[in-house]
Symmetry: C4
């Protein structure tokens, strides 16, 4: 229950910053920095309790790597999606109610490849910095994880909307930025990227 609360809070603030800062445009050109930094602070704040996933693709990768019991994953994903939905509503209805959100159209192949690759990077970084024996006890995991999203959002945000996270994709549909008909692109790409990252991690780190 404590873990699910922490996952809810972390995903809530991640999607709140995305909704107000990027979808409603309040953070301007700096939105990718604000978004990735939100992930960073929430990972540093909540990692010791829940692992600090805030992302169903990360939870999938953590499960495939053996860092999350498979019985926990459904609860984690529900808490994450709930946080994303509530944040999208709070952001658009209470904080920036005057903004009319315009739905973007993303191009299938570029968006799919971009989401797949940068979600791969995100889960690869999470597993290597927060679950590997070779980096045990470090103080940089949140910085590395959060800035993976900074990188991805700056680089391919204009191509794929820069979700790298199925819960964020749900939030983008709730806030009206992503068309429901296109949500399969980040959903499939993110889960696939996360799973590939877990296999790559397991191979590269051996039995650590």
């Amino acid at each position: 229950m404590k873990k699910l609360l922490v996952e809810f809070i972390g995903t809530f603030f991640l999607v709140l910053t995305i909704t107000v800062g990027a979808v409603c445009g309040k953070a301007g050109d700096f939105a990718p920095l604000a978004i990735g930094a939100t992930l960073m602070i929430m990972v540093f704040a909540g990692g010791h309790i829940s692992g600090g996933h805030f992302n169903p693709a990360v939870s999938l990768g953590a499960m495939l790597r053996g860092a999350l019991p498979s019985k926990d994953i459904v609860g984690y994903i529900i808490a994450q999606i709930l946080g994303a939905v509530v944040a999208s509503i709070v952001g658009t209805k209470l904080i920036a109610p005057e903004v009319a959100v315009e739905t973007a159209t993303i191009s299938t192949v570029p968006a799919f490849v971009a989401e797949l690759l940068y979600t791969f990077a995100l889960v690869y970084v999470v597993l290597n910095t927060a679950t590997a024996k070779g980096t045990d006890g470090n103080s940089f995991y949140g910085l590395a994880i959060g800035f993976t999203v900074v990188v991805g959002a700056f680089t391919v945000g204009s191509i794929s909307l820069g979700a790298f996270n199925p819960a964020v994709a749900v939030g983008l549909v709730v806030s009206g930025k992503l068309a429901a008909a296109q949500i399969w692109i980040p959903l499939v790409a993110c889960f696939l990227g996360g799973a590939l990252a877990a296999f790559t991690f397991n191979f590269a780190n051996g039995k650590d």
Copy 2:
């Protein structure tokens, strides 16, 4: 006395950067980065002496979590407010005297919700990264704390002025950016957000 001096210095530089960089506009679009980074450096520099609060809402949260003796909180808050007042005067009178500060008007509900939520995030991050057993001995607490303000200031700075801190709110009134009649918005929202964060922390971390 040493602790109060450190709280004065930290809050002074935080509000000096806010006053010159944001209120007087000298840091342009980068003001939120400069402001949050000021909090980061002062937390890293002063945390080992005073805890590095520089914020009455953080001191309230720390007291409710058991990390600040209740007999100390009044002195802390006085030192913080004094630092904020002196910084606002130094910034507007000595460093940027040619700037005519325009008073902003903030919209009650969006500003209240924004201040409440991001101050909750700030105190939640402070308690989890600087006072929790699960993160003891880490080297990232200042980075996480400072960048919570970077995130909030970029995301809702244009909505609520981005105080997340009652002492900063006082400074904003002294410099003329916030109307005295509206100071109740950040004051109530910040103390409420800080208290909620402390209760959430206490629940999520158990008896650590």
Copy 3:
């Protein structure tokens, strides 16, 4: 083999961010931050497996410092160049296919000096933060290494294209940003800068 996979992945994402973010312009003015941050995250994620070079000039410096067996350097450089080539193709053909890359012309002396000096800085930082006894066990090596590229790319990116890395230079030719006839400038300058940094490191650190 695991080391080469990690070197491939790290260099791939470094050059993918360069290609999409800078060469194709998707990250705008923030491209240098995104590029350096990519190096940071990949160093933090892969350093415990391969050393986290992602750069033939770094591998050369590491070899001269005694941190990479000389029998490994050829494999490292092949993996790095392969990562760079694949990333340049994926970036220009799959993610940003609508962008017509314009070849830049760099001025010989300024570009050579800029590449030489900032590659010296990069390898000097790598050796001192990731291989020196005096900084053993630190949590900042990736931050220091990645931000050396942030610094160099912001400062001399418009002068030399900001490779600081022979594999990146190859990627810039593949994507069409750098003329093949000019590739000798970053190639010679980067290997020379890396070698000089290793000699400087060896002198300044003694037999550590």
Copy 4:
């Protein structure tokens, strides 16, 4: 000798980034980030050898705090000024020779107060994060120190040129940005700020 080499290198790159990025304008609005990040990387790279001052005001503060033998300070300052002079020449003559540097005029009181206060902050941060017992063994000292300059340069760079460092002030005169007749402003303000910071540190940290 090794210490002086490290001080030369660190100050050289700090002033090279200032010269090319800010004085010659190549880093645009991001110059303050590039400059502070240069200090960060050089502190992380060289701190274990020389202490990583790269600034006569820091060396003065370190001496007054007992962290630098008084017999070493003259050598340190010479190495720092030499690095600054060489960097200013390399930057303006070799890397950005086409730029005509315009001399700025700074206003005495605002510039003096700005240099005094932010140099105080810099030396206060250096002493507390890199020499205090209470923060011994941390991995954040370079981040805190470098970002103090990021903060100062964004906030008061347009008011005082943002030296916070007598060696940088010399470099600004060599590159033509600061009039020789005004160099007393940063020189006096920086040494004064550094000395005040050392006294404040000694009081606040007791006999640690």
